[in-house]
Amino acid sequence: MLSPRRIPAVAAVAVLALTAVACGGGSSSSKSLTLYSGRAEVQIQPVIDEFTKETGIKVKVRYGATPELAAQISEEGSNSPADLFFAQDAGGLGSVDDRGLFGPVPPDLLAQVDPRYHADDGDWIGITGRVRVIVANSRNVPDAEVPTDVFAVTAPRWKGKVGIAPTNGSFESFLTAMRVQAGDERTKQFLHDLAANDVKTYNDNALILKAVNDGEIDLGLINHYYWYQLANEIGEDKMVARNHFTLNGDPGALVNVAGVGILKSSDHQELATRFVSFLLGKTAQTFFSEKNFEFPLAAGVQPLPSLPKLSEVQSPDIDLSNLSDLDTTLDMLREAGLL
C-alpha cells in the first residue's frame, strides 16, 4: 500500500506522466476529421474505415449517446473540436441546429435525399431511415388481427399484452409525432388508456422484441430494425415475432432519420463535406441497409427485399423539424404514470 513518504515521489511521477500525455500526440494533421457519433461503433465504424481507405483522410471518432453529445457540442460552442455530428434522431440534430452551430450542407448533397428527410433550413441531412412498427407474436395473434391503427393497441383484447419502452428516444419521438398529428388531448388519452390497460414497460426495444418473440406479450411498439438484429442473432427460423406497419398514415409508422450536420466552427469544411458525401454514397448506404437493416435514403440503394419501399410505408405526413418539443411529451408520460 502507498506509504506517505512515497507520496511526493509518486505525485511527481504522476505529474510527469500527465505532462507527457498532454503534450504527446497533440498535432492534428490537416488531413484529419473529428466526428462526434451518437451512433454505436459497430453500426458506423466500418464505413469510416472504408472512407479513410479511399481518401486517406483520418477520422477521429468520439462515441457517446446522442443527447449527451448534443449537450456537449452546445457547451463547446465555437470551440468545438468536432467537425461533424452524427445523431441517431432528428431531435438531436435539431437541438444543435437551434443553437446555430451547424453550417449549411451543400445543396448538391441535400438534393440527394427526399426533402422530408433533411432540415428545412438545409443545416443537417438524413442518412438513413428507421420506421416505427407494431411487432406481434404470430402464434398468439394471426396477421389479420394485428391492429392496423396504432390507437387500437389500447383495446381490451390487449390488456396486459402490449410492451412499450417509455424511456426510449424513438418511442418518445413517436408520441411527439402523435401530438403533432392528432393533438395533445388525443395523445394524453392514448397514454391514459395504455396505462389503464396494464401496458408492460421495458428498458429498451430489444427487450420488448424478446418478450414478444417468447410469447410473454402479444404486441410491442418498436423500431423495425430490431427484428432483423434478433433474427440475425438467433436465426430467422426461431422468429415467432413479425413486424407490422400501420396502414392509415398514423404515427404508428413514423419514419425518423439518423443524420449528420457539419459544425460551422470546423476548419475542415471541405473534408467534412467529402465525408457527408461518402455517407450518401453507394458503399455506405449499402452497409447501412445490409448490416443495420435501415432504410437507405440515397444513391438509389434499395432496402432489404423483406422490407417495403420507404415510399410504400404509410407514414404520417410530419415535418421532422417539428419533433423538438419532447418536454411536453415527457410530462404526459409522467402524468400517465408510465415514466
Partner: protein
C-alpha cells in the same frame, strides 16, 4: 492555503450552474423551481436518500460489529466480502436486479439496489473505528457493571458516531447523484430528471436550476452532518492501551448470525454475479476483441490511478484543516469539497467541458482535465477517509514535536504523515475503485478514442449487445475488487498488531 485552493477547484461546477441557471432570467428559474413537480421531486429524492442511508447504516454497523467484534465463523473472509459490493458499478448491479426481479422497479427497486451497493461506505469506516477504539473505554464501562448491550449503546456507539456520520453522508450524497440505478429501475429522482431535461428539450436552464437546488440541499445536509460532530473529541488523551479489542462470544447464535452476512452477500454480490455469468455465456457466441478489452483495462488503470493519486493528495490539506481548525473558513473549505459528489456526473462533466473548451483549449479532451473531473467528483471520498484518521490522532503529538524544535515541514513528514497514512491509503483506494466505475465524465472528457472498461460496458449495453458487455464488466468488477480487498484487509492487519 492548499486546502482553499482545492476547494475553489471543487466549486467550478457551481459557477457553471449559476451561469447556466442565470441565462434564462428570473422567470425561467422560478418556472422550474416553484412548481409542484419540483417539490415532489425534492421529496422523492430526499426520501430515497434518507431511506437508503438509514438502511445502509443499520447493515453497515451490524456487519462491522459481527465481523470485527464477534466470533463469527470465518469473520476475516466475511470482512472482505462485506466490502466487495463497492466494486459493482450501479448500472451493472441495477441491470442484474431488474433482470432477476422484473417487478423490482420504482422506489423499492432503487432503494434495494442503492442500499445493497452502497452500505460498504458505512461498513468500512465503522469496521476500522471498531478496531481502533481503545478497549480500555469499554473495559471501564464493563467494570462499572454495565452489560454488553449497555456498553455498546453508551460507550461504543457514541465513539462510532463520526464513522457512521461520514459514511452515511457519502451514501446520502451518492443517492442524490446516482444515475445508473434510478434510470434502470425507473425511479424519478432529481438526477434522472436532470438527465431527461438534457435529453428532451436540450435546454440547459431547467437542468441547471435543478442542479442548483440539489447543491443547496447538499450544503444543508453536509452542514447538518458537521453539527453532529459537535465539539466531541475522539482521540485518547493519554497513551492508552494499543491492543486488540475484546471479542464477543456469540455461542450457538453465531450460526444464526452468519445468516446476516450470507444474505447480504447473496443479494449484493450473488445476483449481479449470476447476471454477469449469463452475459458471459452469451458472449461465447459473440466475437470479443480481447486485445481491445485489455487496452481498455489499461486506460482504466491509467486514468483511475492518476485520479486516485491526485485526489488522495488533494484531500490531505482539506481534511487536516477540517480536523484541526474549527474556523468558519475550515468548515467552508470542507463543505465545498462535498459539492461535486452530490451533483450528477453529467453536470460536473458538462461544467468542465464549458471551462476547458473555453479557457484551456490545449488541455481539453486530454487526460489532465479528466483527472481533474475525478478530483471534483470524488474528493469527499478521500477527504472523509483522511478526516477519520486525522480526528483519531491527537494534535498534542504535533505540538510536542513542534515544542521540541522540529520545523513544521519536518513535523508533517515525521509525525502527521505516519498518523494520516492509513486514511490517505484508504481514501486513495476508494477513489481509485470509484473512478474505475465512472462513466459520464469519462465519455465526455476522455481523449477522443480513449477507452476504459466502463466505456466498453456502456457501448455494448447501449446497443443491447450484452454478450459483448460481459468480459469488460467482469474485468471491471475484478479490477475494482482489488482495492476493495486491500481496504478490508487493512482492517485485519490493524487488528493483528
Amino acid at each position: 492555503m492548499a486546502g482553499a485552493a482545492v476547494a475553489v477547484a471543487a466549486l467550478l461546477p457551481v459557477v457553471y450552474l449559476l451561469v447556466r441557471a442565470g441565462e434564462g432570467g428570473w422567470t425561467a428559474v422560478s418556472d422550474t423551481l416553484l412548481t409542484e413537480r419540483t417539490g415532489r421531486l425534492l421529496a422523492r429524492s430526499l426520501g430515497l436518500a434518507t431511506a437508503v442511508t438509514g438502511a445502509s447504516a443499520v447493515i453497515g454497523v451490524a456487519l462491522a460489529w459481527l465481523t470485527v467484534r464477534c466470533d463469527l465463523p470465518g469473520r476475516r473472509l466475511w470482512r472482505v466480502v462485506a466490502a466487495l459490493p463497492l466494486a459493482v458499478p450501479s448500472y451493472v448491479g441495477a441491470f442484474a436486479y431488474v433482470s432477476v426481479f422484473p417487478w423490482l422497479t420504482g422506489f423499492r427497486g432503487a432503494f434495494a439496489a442503492l442500499t445493497l451497493l452502497s452500505y460498504p461506505y458505512v461498513f468500512l469506516p465503522v469496521a476500522a473505528s471498531l478496531e481502533r477504539i481503545d478497549p480500555s473505554f469499554e473495559e471501564v464501562s464493563r467494570s462499572l457493571g454495565n452489560n454488553a448491550a449497555a456498553t455498546f449503546r453508551t460507550v461504543t456507539l457514541p465513539q462510532l458516531r463520526p464513522a457512521i456520520a461520514t459514511g452515511g453522508l457519502l451514501v446520502f450524497l451518492y443517492c442524490l447523484s446516482d444515475f445508473g440505478a434510478v434510470s434502470i429501475l425507473r425511479f424519478d429522482s432529481f438526477t434522472r430528471v436532470i438527465y431527461q431535461s438534457y435529453q428532451s428539450s436540450f435546454d440547459r436552464t431547467p437542468a441547471a436550476v435543478l442542479g442548483c437546488l440539489l447543491l443547496a440541499v447538499t450544503l444543508v445536509v453536509v452542514s447538518a452532518e458537521a453539527r453532529t460532530r459537535g465539539r466531541a473529541r475522539y482521540y485518547a488523551s493519554g497513551p492508552g492501551a494499543n491492543r486488540p479489542p475484546r471479542v464477543t462470544r456469540l455461542g450457538r447464535a453465531r450460526w444464526w448470525a452468519l445468516l446476516v452476512p450470507v444474505t447480504v452477500a447473496v443479494l449484493a454480490l450473488g445476483v449481479p454475479f449470476a447476471n454477469l455469468v449469463r452475459w458471459l455465456v452469451d458472449s461465447v457466441q459473440a466475437d470479443v476483441d480481447l486485445a481491445r478489452v485489455w487496452r481498455a483495462a489499461g486506460g482504466s488503470l491509467l486514468a483511475s490511478g492518476l485520479g486516485a493519486l491526485v485526489t488522495g493528495a488533494a484531500a490531505i490539506p482539506v481534511a487536516l484543516l477540517a480536523a484541526r481548525h474549527r474556523s468558519r473558513l475550515a468548515a467552508a473549505v470542507e463543505r465545498s469539497a462535498y459539492v461535486g459528489h452530490a451533483l450528477p456526473g453529467i453536470v460536473v462533466a458538462l461544467s468542465l467541458v464549458f471551462f476547458s473548451a473555453r479557457y484551456l483549449t490545449s488541455l481539453y479532451q486530454r487526460l489532465p482535465v479528466l483527472v481533474f473531473a475525478y478530483l471534483v467528483l470524488f474528493l469527499p471520498l478521500a477527504v472523509s477517509a483522511v478526516y477519520t484518521s486525522a480526528v483519531q490522532a491527537s494534535p498534542a503529538l504535533d505540538e510536542v514535536a513542534r515544542s521540541l524544535g522540529k520545523r513544521p515541514l519536518a513535523v508533517l513528514r515525521t509525525v502527521t504523515a505516519p498518523l494520516l497514512a492509513p486514511g490517505v491509503a484508504a481514501g486513495t483506494a476508494l477513489v481509485f475503485l470509484t473512478c474505475m466505475k465512472e462513466l459520464p465524465a469519462t465519455l465526455l472528457l476522455g481523449p477522443t478514442g480513449f477507452e476504459t472498461l466502463a466505456t466498453r460496458v456502456w457501448s455494448a449495453t447501449a446497443i443491447g449487445a450484452y454478450g459483448d458487455a460481459a468480459v469488460p464488466s467482469v474485468l471491471l468488477v475484478v479490477a475494482a475488487a482489488v482495492p476493495t480487498w486491500l481496504l478490508s484487509r487493512r482492517l485485519g492487519r490493524q487488528a493483528a498488531t
